[in-house]
Amino acid sequence: MEILKRNVRGAYTIWYRDIVRFKRDRVRMFSSLGMPIVYLFVFGSGLSPAMAEMGGGNIDFKQFMFPGVLTMTVLFTSVFSAVSIVWDREFGFLKEVMVAPVSRVAIALGKVAGGSTVSLFQGLIVLLLAPVLGVTLSISQIVSLIGLMVMLAVMMTALGILIAARQKSMEGFHMMMNFVLLPMFFLSGAFFPLRGVPIWMYLLSKLDPVTYGVDPLRQVSLQALVPPDLMHTISLNPLTYNVMMMASFSVLFLVPAVWLFSRQE
């Protein structure tokens, strides 16, 4: 009992630290809007004329991209905050935490919670752009989006810890960034529809966990714009299937991530 209490408190401490740091960093909070704005208004506006026929002509490309940008924000915030834990462990504050009487499992889980919370907040900030794009959202849509973003965030934070758990330098991380994260993001259908793409791309996108994050976010956020009978033209899987896939990938990443992180050298 005492041990459980201590570890819950430990996990809470790690989570709370992330929140305090995030709150203090106002600049980061809003500078994180920069990339989404560039993508939506420069990239999106540029491609809009070429991609006119979307969702049966009910949405333009910018609106199509919106859930993709949401995914981008959550994905990269989650992975970066997970990688920072490892950096922190070798060179910073977490060294301190590693000699504290708290299990490493609790530390890793606390970090998953912290990273996910921060990326959820970042996602919520991006959600503020919805009205500008003419994407109307009801309260129930927003609640669903929050749930989906949390799932995506947990999955990607776990992946981040898994990637970085054994790394002692930042170089390896840049490799991962270029060869794993970017392809993962682009193959997910965040910025283009996965209908009518080459078969190899289609198959890779099926293996890509991010696909199952973008798809439900798109279905929910564009609910009010695209009629239900046309939704299949811009989406891939039923909502529940997406959710189950995200949950499975989360477990698949989280278990080895926590194990690797907590293994003593």
């Binding site: 041990i3 209490k5 201590r6 408190r9 430990g10 809470y12 401490t13 709370y16 630290r17 305090v20 740091r21 203090r24 960093d25 060179f91 910073g92 504050f93 060294k95 301190e96 935490v97 590693m98 000699v99 504290a100 009487p101 708290v102 299990s103 003593q264 050298e265």
Partner: protein, 331 residues
């Protein structure tokens, strides 16, 4: 009553043996130093004692708990001050302490009391609400010491606690540590490669290449060298050395900066004799440019025990880079 008891501790990294069959005991309330060059195995040992690394073989008891089997109990008993900064720059001094208190399960009241006292002790009360990014290197170190003591540890581990700090700050920190031991009886285990610093310890283990080559009080260690050290500059050190060995049987060696170093008892009486041997008219005259007499230091002990100097140039350079980095980060 022993605070730390280490028996035949070994740690391999692949084929490298970082710590090679090390055994020692640290008594309660003692300041125990691990002295040796960079890469001698000091940090590896401290990491094993603080449960950060698994020993390859051997055993270590810290506060009576086994570091391999009772890690949570070991961790609750110890405080740790790391070689490199381990504070969160973006948090205030007090927040850094607060998170530590939370991790160790201090109650709110307990925390406020203890934090106020410790901040007072390390003279950071007025700066506690500032983010650590604005602190100087010395202030950060002091905050780390306060943090390490927050949960009333029985044993404080310090890995190169004054590395990269200026001499004044270094003295300051030593004052804290010595008072701390007097007031609270905290046992301290520290590593260092500063000779002067090791002098503050009650006992020192000299470690080289993963092995303990000597363990005793600083005085006893220095007594091993025997008597005094004479440092002379001559125009032919080889010849002078040979002649002195023949005439008086004294131990000599050539030190850095091309000095002739002689170990002897009663150095004050030996100097005139040495001069007469070196300027003996029947042999070729060796001119002596300067002579200097001093008491042996731990450096001399290290050379005597290992046959080589403790600080190679490489280590000195690394140290400079480190302190440079610290200063840069401190801004």
């Amino acid at each position: 009553m022993y605070s730390i008891k280490v028996e035949q501790l070994v740690r391999h990294f692949g084929k490298n043996v970082a710590v090679d069959d090390v055994s020692f005991k640290v008594e309660s309330g003692e300041i125990f130093g691990f002295l040796g060059p960079n890469g001698a195995g000091k940090t590896t040992t401290i990491n094993m004692l603080t449960t950060l690394l698994h020993p390859t073989s051997g055993s270590a008891l810290v506060n009576g708990y086994d570091v391999s089997k009772q890690q949570a109990l070991v961790r609750q008993s110890i405080g740790m001050i790391f070689q490199d900064a381990s504070l969160d720059d973006k948090l205030t001094g007090r927040e850094n302490l607060l998170f530590h208190g939370m991790l160790y399960g201090l109650s709110k009241d307990d925390f406020s009391d203890k934090a106020a006292k410790l901040l007072e002790m390390v003279e950071l009360t007025g700066r506690a609400e500032e983010v650590v990014l604005n602190y100087s290197g010395g202030m950060k170190r002091r905050l780390e010491i306060a943090r390490g003591l927050l949960h009333n540890p029985k044993i404080l581990f310090l890995d190169e606690p004054t590395l990269g700090l200026d001499p004044q700050t270094r003295r300051h920190i030593w004052d804290y540590l010595v008072t701390l031991r007097e007031r609270q009886g905290v046992t301290m285990f520290m590593t260092t490669h500063y000779m002067e610093e090791a002098e503050h310890c009650d006992r020192i283990a000299i470690i080289d290449d993963g092995k303990i080559v000597g363990l005793d009080t600083p005085e006893a260690l220095k007594a091993m060298v025997g008597g005094d050290i004479i440092m002379a500059v001559t125009d032919d050190n080889e010849q002078a050395s040979l002649r002195l060995q023949n005439s008086h049987g004294v131990a000599t060696r050539i030190g850095p900066d091309n000095q002739l170093i002689i170990e002897t008892e009663r150095g004050d009486q030996f100097i005139p004799e040495m001069m007469s041997v070196l300027t003996d008219m029947t042999q070729e005259n060796i001119s002596v440019k300067s002579v200097y007499l001093r008491r042996p230091t731990l450096e001399d002990v290290f050379v005597k025990l290992t046959g080589h100097a403790m600080r190679d140039q490489n280590a000195v350079d690394k140290d400079k880079v480190r302190s440079g980095m610290r200063r840069w980060r401190g801004r």
